[in-house]
Symmetry: C2
Subunit: 220 residues, 2 copies
Amino acid sequence: MSQMQNVERQLREMILGLEIGPGERLTERWIESRFGASRTPVRAALLRLETEGLIGRDGRGWTVAPINLAELGQIAVYREAVEVAAVRLTAALEDRGGVDVIAAMLDSCDAETPREEWHRVGMDFHIELARLSGNEFLLRAVRDAMTRLSRARWLEVRDEKALGRAWAEHHAILAAARAGDADEAARLLSAHIAGSRDRLVTSLHDDRRGLRARGFAVVE
Amino acid sequence: MSQMQNVERQLREMILGLEIGPGERLTERWIESRFGASRTPVRAALLRLETEGLIGRDGRGWTVAPINLAELGQIAVYREAVEVAAVRLTAALEDRGGVDVIAAMLDSCDAETPREEWHRVGMDFHIELARLSGNEFLLRAVRDAMTRLSRARWLEVRDEKALGRAWAEHHAILAAARAGDADEAARLLSAHIAGSRDRLVTSLHDDRRGLRARGFAVVE
DNA sequence: GATACCAGCTTGGTATACCAAAACGGTATC
DNA sequence: GATACCGTTTTGGTATACCAAGCTGGTATC
Protein backbone atom coordinates (compact mmCIF):
# COMPACT_ATOMS: atom_id res chain seq x y z
CA MET A 1 0.00 0.00 0.00
CA SER A 2 1.30 3.42 -0.89
CA GLN A 3 2.25 5.98 1.73
CA MET A 4 -0.53 8.26 0.52
CA GLN A 5 -3.21 5.62 1.11
CA ASN A 6 -1.57 4.80 4.40
CA VAL A 7 -1.65 8.37 5.65
CA GLU A 8 -5.12 8.94 4.27
CA ARG A 9 -6.55 5.89 5.99
CA GLN A 10 -4.87 6.49 9.34
CA LEU A 11 -5.66 10.18 9.38
CA ARG A 12 -9.29 9.48 8.50
CA GLU A 13 -9.53 6.97 11.32
CA MET A 14 -8.02 9.43 13.77
CA ILE A 15 -10.49 12.12 12.72
CA LEU A 16 -13.52 9.85 12.71
CA GLY A 17 -12.40 8.30 16.00
CA LEU A 18 -12.15 11.80 17.48
CA GLU A 19 -8.49 11.25 18.36
CA ILE A 20 -8.11 14.56 16.58
CA GLY A 21 -10.92 16.81 17.72
CA PRO A 22 -13.33 18.76 15.51
CA GLY A 23 -11.91 22.23 14.88
CA GLU A 24 -8.34 21.22 15.66
CA ARG A 25 -5.59 22.65 13.49
CA LEU A 26 -3.38 20.34 11.47
CA THR A 27 0.08 21.06 10.13
CA GLU A 28 1.66 19.08 7.36
CA ARG A 29 4.87 18.82 9.38
CA TRP A 30 3.08 17.28 12.33
CA ILE A 31 1.39 14.67 10.17
CA GLU A 32 4.69 14.04 8.43
CA SER A 33 6.46 13.19 11.68
CA ARG A 34 3.44 11.42 13.17
CA PHE A 35 3.14 8.91 10.35
CA GLY A 36 6.71 8.80 9.15
CA ALA A 37 5.84 9.85 5.63
CA SER A 38 7.15 12.85 3.75
CA ARG A 39 5.07 15.87 2.86
CA THR A 40 4.25 14.73 -0.66
CA PRO A 41 1.97 11.82 0.32
CA VAL A 42 0.76 13.84 3.31
CA ARG A 43 -0.44 16.62 1.04
CA ALA A 44 -2.11 14.13 -1.28
CA ALA A 45 -3.96 12.59 1.66
CA LEU A 46 -5.04 16.02 2.92
CA LEU A 47 -6.43 16.92 -0.49
CA ARG A 48 -8.52 13.77 -0.52
CA LEU A 49 -9.82 14.25 3.00
CA GLU A 50 -10.73 17.80 2.06
CA THR A 51 -13.01 16.56 -0.72
CA GLU A 52 -14.60 14.20 1.81
CA GLY A 53 -15.38 17.18 3.99
CA LEU A 54 -13.45 15.83 6.96
CA ILE A 55 -10.94 18.64 6.88
CA GLY A 56 -11.11 22.16 5.50
CA ARG A 57 -8.87 25.11 4.88
CA ASP A 58 -8.56 27.82 7.47
CA GLY A 59 -6.82 30.59 5.63
CA ARG A 60 -3.55 28.99 4.61
CA GLY A 61 -3.71 26.07 7.01
CA TRP A 62 -5.73 22.94 7.58
CA THR A 63 -8.46 22.40 10.14
CA VAL A 64 -10.45 19.34 11.13
CA ALA A 65 -14.07 20.04 10.20
CA PRO A 66 -16.12 21.19 13.20
CA ILE A 67 -19.36 19.56 14.24
CA ASN A 68 -21.94 21.59 12.34
CA LEU A 69 -25.54 21.26 13.49
CA ALA A 70 -26.97 23.16 10.50
CA GLU A 71 -25.06 20.85 8.20
CA LEU A 72 -26.61 17.82 9.88
CA GLY A 73 -30.03 19.09 8.84
CA GLN A 74 -28.93 19.60 5.26
CA ILE A 75 -27.37 16.16 5.13
CA ALA A 76 -30.65 14.65 6.30
CA VAL A 77 -32.47 16.25 3.36
CA TYR A 78 -29.81 15.01 0.99
CA ARG A 79 -29.89 11.52 2.49
CA GLU A 80 -33.63 11.35 2.20
CA ALA A 81 -33.44 12.20 -1.51
CA VAL A 82 -30.81 9.63 -2.40
CA GLU A 83 -31.70 6.86 0.03
CA VAL A 84 -35.36 6.92 -0.89
CA ALA A 85 -34.43 6.76 -4.56
CA ALA A 86 -32.15 3.81 -3.81
CA VAL A 87 -34.67 1.83 -1.79
CA ARG A 88 -37.31 2.39 -4.48
CA LEU A 89 -34.94 0.91 -7.05
CA THR A 90 -34.19 -1.99 -4.74
CA ALA A 91 -37.87 -2.68 -4.09
CA ALA A 92 -38.40 -2.83 -7.84
CA LEU A 93 -35.65 -5.40 -8.43
CA GLU A 94 -36.47 -8.91 -9.64
CA ASP A 95 -34.00 -10.46 -7.24
CA ARG A 96 -34.25 -8.86 -3.82
CA GLY A 97 -32.20 -11.53 -2.09
CA GLY A 98 -29.60 -8.98 -1.01
CA VAL A 99 -32.13 -7.65 1.48
CA ASP A 100 -31.77 -10.79 3.56
CA VAL A 101 -28.01 -10.36 3.75
CA ILE A 102 -28.53 -6.93 5.28
CA ALA A 103 -31.12 -8.32 7.70
CA ALA A 104 -28.57 -10.93 8.80
CA MET A 105 -26.08 -8.14 9.36
CA LEU A 106 -28.54 -6.35 11.63
CA ASP A 107 -29.22 -9.54 13.53
CA SER A 108 -25.51 -10.04 14.21
CA CYS A 109 -25.87 -7.32 16.86
CA ASP A 110 -27.25 -8.14 20.30
CA ALA A 111 -27.03 -6.87 23.86
CA GLU A 112 -23.44 -8.12 24.16
CA THR A 113 -22.25 -6.29 21.06
CA PRO A 114 -19.92 -3.36 21.77
CA ARG A 115 -21.17 0.11 21.03
CA GLU A 116 -18.55 0.56 18.32
CA GLU A 117 -20.00 -2.35 16.40
CA TRP A 118 -23.56 -1.00 16.68
CA HIS A 119 -22.27 2.26 15.30
CA ARG A 120 -20.64 0.60 12.31
CA VAL A 121 -23.60 -1.63 11.54
CA GLY A 122 -25.96 1.33 11.80
CA MET A 123 -24.05 3.09 9.06
CA ASP A 124 -23.44 0.00 6.97
CA PHE A 125 -27.15 -0.69 6.91
CA HIS A 126 -27.73 2.45 4.89
CA ILE A 127 -24.66 1.98 2.72
CA GLU A 128 -25.45 -1.62 1.86
CA LEU A 129 -29.07 -0.80 1.17
CA ALA A 130 -27.89 1.83 -1.32
CA ARG A 131 -25.50 -0.68 -2.85
CA LEU A 132 -28.38 -3.03 -3.59
CA SER A 133 -29.86 -0.39 -5.87
CA GLY A 134 -26.98 -1.03 -8.25
CA ASN A 135 -26.52 2.70 -8.80
CA GLU A 136 -22.94 3.78 -8.20
CA PHE A 137 -23.84 7.42 -7.71
CA LEU A 138 -26.51 6.79 -5.13
CA LEU A 139 -24.11 4.46 -3.33
CA ARG A 140 -21.34 7.02 -3.25
CA ALA A 141 -23.74 9.73 -2.11
CA VAL A 142 -24.90 7.62 0.83
CA ARG A 143 -21.36 6.59 1.69
CA ASP A 144 -20.19 10.20 1.69
CA ALA A 145 -23.15 11.32 3.77
CA MET A 146 -22.56 8.59 6.34
CA THR A 147 -18.88 9.51 6.55
CA ARG A 148 -19.79 13.10 7.29
CA LEU A 149 -22.34 12.01 9.88
CA SER A 150 -20.07 9.50 11.51
CA ARG A 151 -18.54 11.69 14.21
CA ALA A 152 -21.84 13.32 15.12
CA ARG A 153 -23.51 9.92 15.45
CA TRP A 154 -20.66 8.73 17.61
CA LEU A 155 -21.06 11.72 19.93
CA GLU A 156 -24.80 11.29 20.18
CA VAL A 157 -25.98 10.12 23.54
CA ARG A 158 -28.12 7.13 22.68
CA ASP A 159 -29.92 5.06 25.21
CA GLU A 160 -30.76 1.38 24.90
CA LYS A 161 -34.28 2.23 23.79
CA ALA A 162 -33.10 4.41 20.90
CA LEU A 163 -30.83 1.66 19.63
CA GLY A 164 -33.67 -0.82 19.72
CA ARG A 165 -36.00 1.57 17.91
CA ALA A 166 -33.47 2.15 15.12
CA TRP A 167 -32.96 -1.59 14.84
CA ALA A 168 -36.71 -2.15 14.51
CA GLU A 169 -37.06 0.64 11.97
CA HIS A 170 -34.27 -0.83 9.90
CA HIS A 171 -35.99 -4.20 9.88
CA ALA A 172 -39.32 -2.65 8.92
CA ILE A 173 -37.69 -0.89 5.97
CA LEU A 174 -36.13 -4.15 4.84
CA ALA A 175 -39.46 -5.97 5.14
CA ALA A 176 -41.17 -3.44 2.90
CA ALA A 177 -38.33 -3.59 0.38
CA ARG A 178 -38.38 -7.39 0.43
CA ALA A 179 -42.12 -7.33 -0.23
CA GLY A 180 -41.57 -5.00 -3.17
CA ASP A 181 -43.64 -2.28 -1.54
CA ALA A 182 -41.63 0.74 -2.71
CA ASP A 183 -44.03 3.36 -1.33
CA GLU A 184 -44.06 1.83 2.14
CA ALA A 185 -40.29 1.39 2.17
CA ALA A 186 -39.85 5.00 1.08
CA ARG A 187 -42.27 6.24 3.74
CA LEU A 188 -40.59 4.28 6.51
CA LEU A 189 -37.11 5.32 5.39
CA SER A 190 -38.07 9.01 5.23
CA ALA A 191 -39.51 8.86 8.72
CA HIS A 192 -36.44 7.00 9.96
CA ILE A 193 -34.04 9.60 8.56
CA ALA A 194 -36.09 12.51 9.91
CA GLY A 195 -36.30 10.87 13.32
CA SER A 196 -32.58 10.15 13.38
CA ARG A 197 -31.84 13.73 12.47
CA ASP A 198 -34.14 15.09 15.19
CA ARG A 199 -32.65 12.91 17.90
CA LEU A 200 -29.12 13.62 16.69
CA VAL A 201 -29.49 17.40 16.49
CA THR A 202 -31.36 17.58 19.79
CA SER A 203 -28.78 15.45 21.56
CA LEU A 204 -25.81 17.43 20.26
CA HIS A 205 -27.51 20.77 20.81
CA ASP A 206 -28.28 19.88 24.41
CA ASP A 207 -24.74 18.63 24.90
CA ARG A 208 -22.95 21.39 23.01
CA ARG A 209 -21.41 22.86 26.13
CA GLY A 210 -20.01 19.50 27.14
CA LEU A 211 -18.63 18.97 23.66
CA ARG A 212 -16.95 22.37 23.66
CA ALA A 213 -15.52 21.59 27.10
CA ARG A 214 -13.84 18.60 25.47
CA GLY A 215 -12.23 21.01 23.02
CA PHE A 216 -14.56 20.19 20.13
CA ALA A 217 -15.63 23.02 17.85
CA VAL A 218 -19.42 23.01 17.49
CA VAL A 219 -21.13 25.26 14.94
CA GLU A 220 -24.87 25.81 15.37
CA MET B 1 -3.91 32.06 -7.89
CA SER B 2 -1.83 29.05 -6.94
CA GLN B 3 -0.23 26.83 -9.53
CA MET B 4 -2.37 23.93 -8.37
CA GLN B 5 -5.61 25.80 -9.02
CA ASN B 6 -4.16 27.02 -12.28
CA VAL B 7 -3.31 23.55 -13.52
CA GLU B 8 -6.56 22.13 -12.20
CA ARG B 9 -8.66 24.74 -13.97
CA GLN B 10 -6.82 24.58 -17.27
CA LEU B 11 -6.68 20.82 -17.32
CA ARG B 12 -10.38 20.58 -16.52
CA GLU B 13 -11.17 22.96 -19.34
CA MET B 14 -9.05 20.96 -21.76
CA ILE B 15 -10.81 17.74 -20.76
CA LEU B 16 -14.31 19.21 -20.81
CA GLY B 17 -13.54 20.99 -24.08
CA LEU B 18 -12.39 17.67 -25.54
CA GLU B 19 -8.97 19.09 -26.36
CA ILE B 20 -7.81 15.98 -24.56
CA GLY B 21 -9.98 13.11 -25.73
CA PRO B 22 -11.87 10.61 -23.56
CA GLY B 23 -9.67 7.61 -22.91
CA GLU B 24 -6.44 9.48 -23.63
CA ARG B 25 -3.46 8.77 -21.39
CA LEU B 26 -1.92 11.53 -19.34
CA THR B 27 1.58 11.69 -17.93
CA GLU B 28 2.57 14.01 -15.13
CA ARG B 29 5.65 15.06 -17.09
CA TRP B 30 3.61 16.11 -20.09
CA ILE B 31 1.28 18.23 -17.98
CA GLU B 32 4.28 19.65 -16.16
CA SER B 33 5.85 20.92 -19.37
CA ARG B 34 2.53 21.87 -20.94
CA PHE B 35 1.54 24.24 -18.14
CA GLY B 36 4.96 25.24 -16.85
CA ALA B 37 4.30 23.97 -13.35
CA SER B 38 6.27 21.40 -11.43
CA ARG B 39 4.98 17.97 -10.57
CA THR B 40 3.83 18.85 -7.07
CA PRO B 41 0.92 21.09 -8.10
CA VAL B 42 0.31 18.85 -11.12
CA ARG B 43 -0.20 15.85 -8.87
CA ALA B 44 -2.49 17.84 -6.59
CA ALA B 45 -4.60 18.87 -9.57
CA LEU B 46 -4.76 15.29 -10.85
CA LEU B 47 -5.96 14.06 -7.46
CA ARG B 48 -8.77 16.59 -7.47
CA LEU B 49 -9.84 15.82 -11.01
CA GLU B 50 -9.85 12.16 -10.08
CA THR B 51 -12.42 12.79 -7.35
CA GLU B 52 -14.50 14.70 -9.90
CA GLY B 53 -14.49 11.61 -12.09
CA LEU B 54 -12.89 13.42 -15.02
CA ILE B 55 -9.76 11.29 -14.90
CA GLY B 56 -9.08 7.86 -13.53
CA ARG B 57 -6.20 5.55 -12.86
CA ASP B 58 -5.17 3.00 -15.43
CA GLY B 59 -2.86 0.73 -13.51
CA ARG B 60 -0.08 3.06 -12.47
CA GLY B 61 -0.91 5.88 -14.89
CA TRP B 62 -3.63 8.43 -15.50
CA THR B 63 -6.37 8.28 -18.11
CA VAL B 64 -9.04 10.75 -19.13
CA ALA B 65 -12.40 9.18 -18.26
CA PRO B 66 -14.06 7.57 -21.30
CA ILE B 67 -17.57 8.39 -22.42
CA ASN B 68 -19.63 5.79 -20.55
CA LEU B 69 -23.17 5.23 -21.78
CA ALA B 70 -24.17 3.06 -18.82
CA GLU B 71 -22.94 5.74 -16.49
CA LEU B 72 -25.13 8.31 -18.21
CA GLY B 73 -28.17 6.27 -17.25
CA GLN B 74 -27.05 6.03 -13.65
CA ILE B 75 -26.37 9.74 -13.47
CA ALA B 76 -29.90 10.43 -14.72
CA VAL B 77 -31.35 8.43 -11.83
CA TYR B 78 -29.11 10.26 -9.40
CA ARG B 79 -30.00 13.63 -10.90
CA GLU B 80 -33.69 12.90 -10.69
CA ALA B 81 -33.38 12.11 -6.99
CA VAL B 82 -31.44 15.23 -6.04
CA GLU B 83 -32.92 17.72 -8.49
CA VAL B 84 -36.49 16.78 -7.65
CA ALA B 85 -35.69 17.16 -3.97
CA ALA B 86 -34.16 20.56 -4.68
CA VAL B 87 -37.04 21.89 -6.75
CA ARG B 88 -39.53 20.71 -4.12
CA LEU B 89 -37.65 22.71 -1.51
CA THR B 90 -37.55 25.72 -3.81
CA ALA B 91 -41.27 25.52 -4.53
CA ALA B 92 -41.91 25.53 -0.79
CA LEU B 93 -39.86 28.68 -0.16
CA GLU B 94 -41.50 31.89 1.03
CA ASP B 95 -39.41 33.98 -1.32
CA ARG B 96 -39.21 32.39 -4.75
CA GLY B 97 -37.82 35.48 -6.44
CA GLY B 98 -34.68 33.61 -7.46
CA VAL B 99 -36.74 31.72 -9.99
CA ASP B 100 -37.10 34.86 -12.08
CA VAL B 101 -33.34 35.32 -12.19
CA ILE B 102 -33.00 31.89 -13.72
CA ALA B 103 -35.78 32.63 -16.18
CA ALA B 104 -33.93 35.77 -17.25
CA MET B 105 -30.81 33.67 -17.75
CA LEU B 106 -32.74 31.34 -20.06
CA ASP B 107 -34.12 34.29 -21.99
CA SER B 108 -30.64 35.65 -22.59
CA CYS B 109 -30.28 32.93 -25.23
CA ASP B 110 -31.74 33.44 -28.70
CA ALA B 111 -31.15 32.27 -32.24
CA GLU B 112 -27.95 34.31 -32.48
CA THR B 113 -26.43 32.82 -29.34
CA PRO B 114 -23.47 30.53 -30.01
CA ARG B 115 -23.86 26.85 -29.26
CA GLU B 116 -21.26 27.03 -26.52
CA GLU B 117 -23.41 29.50 -24.61
CA TRP B 118 -26.54 27.35 -24.97
CA HIS B 119 -24.53 24.48 -23.57
CA ARG B 120 -23.39 26.48 -20.57
CA VAL B 121 -26.83 27.93 -19.84
CA GLY B 122 -28.40 24.50 -20.17
CA MET B 123 -26.18 23.23 -17.38
CA ASP B 124 -26.37 26.36 -15.27
CA PHE B 125 -30.15 26.16 -15.28
CA HIS B 126 -30.00 22.96 -13.28
CA ILE B 127 -27.18 24.14 -11.04
CA GLU B 128 -28.83 27.46 -10.19
CA LEU B 129 -32.15 25.79 -9.60
CA ALA B 130 -30.44 23.52 -7.09
CA ARG B 131 -28.75 26.52 -5.50
CA LEU B 132 -32.13 28.12 -4.82
CA SER B 133 -32.99 25.18 -2.59
CA GLY B 134 -30.39 26.48 -0.15
CA ASN B 135 -29.06 22.97 0.42
CA GLU B 136 -25.32 22.77 -0.10
CA PHE B 137 -25.33 19.02 -0.59
CA LEU B 138 -28.02 19.00 -3.23
CA LEU B 139 -26.20 21.84 -4.98
CA ARG B 140 -22.91 20.02 -4.99
CA ALA B 141 -24.55 16.82 -6.18
CA VAL B 142 -26.12 18.59 -9.14
CA ARG B 143 -22.91 20.44 -9.95
CA ASP B 144 -20.92 17.22 -9.90
CA ALA B 145 -23.46 15.43 -12.04
CA MET B 146 -23.50 18.22 -14.61
CA THR B 147 -19.70 18.22 -14.73
CA ARG B 148 -19.70 14.52 -15.49
CA LEU B 149 -22.37 14.97 -18.13
CA SER B 150 -20.74 17.96 -19.72
CA ARG B 151 -18.68 16.22 -22.39
CA ALA B 152 -21.47 13.86 -23.37
CA ARG B 153 -23.90 16.75 -23.74
CA TRP B 154 -21.40 18.60 -25.86
CA LEU B 155 -21.00 15.59 -28.16
CA GLU B 156 -24.74 15.11 -28.50
CA VAL B 157 -26.07 15.99 -31.89
CA ARG B 158 -28.90 18.39 -31.09
CA ASP B 159 -31.09 19.98 -33.67
CA GLU B 160 -32.78 23.34 -33.36
CA LYS B 161 -36.02 21.67 -32.33
CA ALA B 162 -34.41 19.83 -29.39
CA LEU B 163 -32.87 23.03 -28.08
CA GLY B 164 -36.24 24.79 -28.24
CA ARG B 165 -37.94 21.90 -26.48
CA ALA B 166 -35.41 21.91 -23.64
CA TRP B 167 -35.82 25.68 -23.35
CA ALA B 168 -39.61 25.33 -23.11
CA GLU B 169 -39.34 22.53 -20.57
CA HIS B 170 -37.02 24.60 -18.43
CA HIS B 171 -39.48 27.48 -18.45
CA ALA B 172 -42.37 25.18 -17.57
CA ILE B 173 -40.45 23.85 -14.58
CA LEU B 174 -39.72 27.38 -13.41
CA ALA B 175 -43.38 28.36 -13.82
CA ALA B 176 -44.50 25.49 -11.61
CA ALA B 177 -41.84 26.30 -9.02
CA ARG B 178 -42.77 29.97 -9.08
CA ALA B 179 -46.41 29.04 -8.51
CA GLY B 180 -45.39 26.91 -5.55
CA ASP B 181 -46.70 23.74 -7.21
CA ALA B 182 -44.08 21.29 -6.00
CA ASP B 183 -45.75 18.19 -7.42
CA GLU B 184 -46.07 19.67 -10.89
CA ALA B 185 -42.51 21.00 -10.85
CA ALA B 186 -41.26 17.59 -9.74
CA ARG B 187 -43.26 15.81 -12.45
CA LEU B 188 -42.01 18.13 -15.18
CA LEU B 189 -38.42 17.93 -13.98
CA SER B 190 -38.49 14.13 -13.84
CA ALA B 191 -39.83 13.96 -17.36
CA HIS B 192 -37.25 16.46 -18.54
CA ILE B 193 -34.34 14.53 -17.07
CA ALA B 194 -35.61 11.23 -18.46
CA GLY B 195 -36.14 12.77 -21.88
CA SER B 196 -32.69 14.36 -21.86
CA ARG B 197 -31.14 11.05 -20.94
CA ASP B 198 -32.98 9.20 -23.71
CA ARG B 199 -31.99 11.67 -26.37
CA LEU B 200 -28.43 11.80 -25.09
CA VAL B 201 -27.88 8.07 -24.89
CA THR B 202 -29.58 7.44 -28.24
CA SER B 203 -27.55 10.12 -29.94
CA LEU B 204 -24.22 8.92 -28.57
CA HIS B 205 -25.05 5.27 -29.15
CA ASP B 206 -25.93 5.95 -32.77
CA ASP B 207 -22.78 8.01 -33.19
CA ARG B 208 -20.42 5.78 -31.24
CA ARG B 209 -18.50 4.71 -34.34
CA GLY B 210 -17.94 8.32 -35.32
CA LEU B 211 -16.80 9.14 -31.82
CA ARG B 212 -14.35 6.28 -31.79
CA ALA B 213 -13.07 7.37 -35.19
CA ARG B 214 -12.20 10.69 -33.55
CA GLY B 215 -10.12 8.74 -31.04
CA PHE B 216 -12.64 8.94 -28.21
CA ALA B 217 -13.03 5.94 -25.94
CA VAL B 218 -16.72 5.04 -25.65
CA VAL B 219 -17.89 2.43 -23.14
CA GLU B 220 -21.39 0.97 -23.65
C1' DG C 1 11.51 -16.87 -37.98
C1' DA C 2 9.90 -17.04 -33.32
C1' DT C 3 10.77 -16.38 -28.67
C1' DA C 4 13.06 -15.52 -24.45
C1' DC C 5 15.77 -12.29 -22.17
C1' DC C 6 18.21 -8.16 -20.98
C1' DA C 7 19.42 -3.16 -20.99
C1' DG C 8 17.72 1.31 -21.16
C1' DC C 9 14.13 4.44 -20.70
C1' DT C 10 9.78 6.14 -18.99
C1' DT C 11 6.77 6.98 -15.20
C1' DG C 12 4.57 7.44 -10.91
C1' DG C 13 5.99 7.48 -5.74
C1' DT C 14 8.65 9.68 -2.43
C1' DA C 15 11.87 12.64 0.05
C1' DT C 16 13.72 17.01 0.54
C1' DA C 17 15.48 21.71 -0.23
C1' DC C 18 14.14 26.37 -0.89
C1' DC C 19 10.95 30.31 -0.83
C1' DA C 20 7.55 33.75 0.45
C1' DA C 21 4.05 34.92 3.38
C1' DA C 22 1.95 34.82 7.65
C1' DA C 23 2.08 34.12 12.56
C1' DC C 24 4.50 34.90 16.79
C1' DG C 25 7.14 37.21 20.24
C1' DG C 26 9.78 40.57 22.22
C1' DT C 27 11.12 45.23 22.71
C1' DA C 28 10.91 50.02 22.57
C1' DT C 29 8.09 53.95 22.63
C1' DC C 30 4.34 56.70 24.13
C1' DG D 1 0.21 49.42 30.72
C1' DA D 2 -0.98 49.49 25.94
C1' DT D 3 0.54 49.53 21.38
C1' DA D 4 3.24 49.76 17.33
C1' DC D 5 7.12 47.87 15.11
C1' DC D 6 10.58 44.62 13.71
C1' DG D 7 13.14 40.26 13.64
C1' DT D 8 12.50 35.25 14.10
C1' DT D 9 10.09 31.18 13.35
C1' DT D 10 6.66 28.47 11.39
C1' DT D 11 4.04 26.90 7.52
C1' DG D 12 2.13 25.94 3.17
C1' DG D 13 3.59 26.26 -1.97
C1' DT D 14 6.80 24.83 -5.21
C1' DA D 15 10.71 22.77 -7.60
C1' DT D 16 13.58 19.01 -8.01
C1' DA D 17 16.43 14.87 -7.19
C1' DC D 18 16.25 10.04 -6.56
C1' DC D 19 14.14 5.46 -6.66
C1' DA D 20 11.78 1.27 -8.02
C1' DA D 21 8.62 -0.79 -11.04
C1' DG D 22 7.15 -1.51 -15.56
C1' DC D 23 7.36 -0.91 -20.41
C1' DT D 24 10.02 -1.02 -24.84
C1' DG D 25 13.04 -2.29 -28.21
C1' DG D 26 16.62 -4.87 -29.63
C1' DT D 27 19.45 -8.88 -29.59
C1' DA D 28 20.85 -13.44 -29.05
C1' DT D 29 19.57 -18.12 -29.01
C1' DC D 30 17.09 -22.03 -30.52
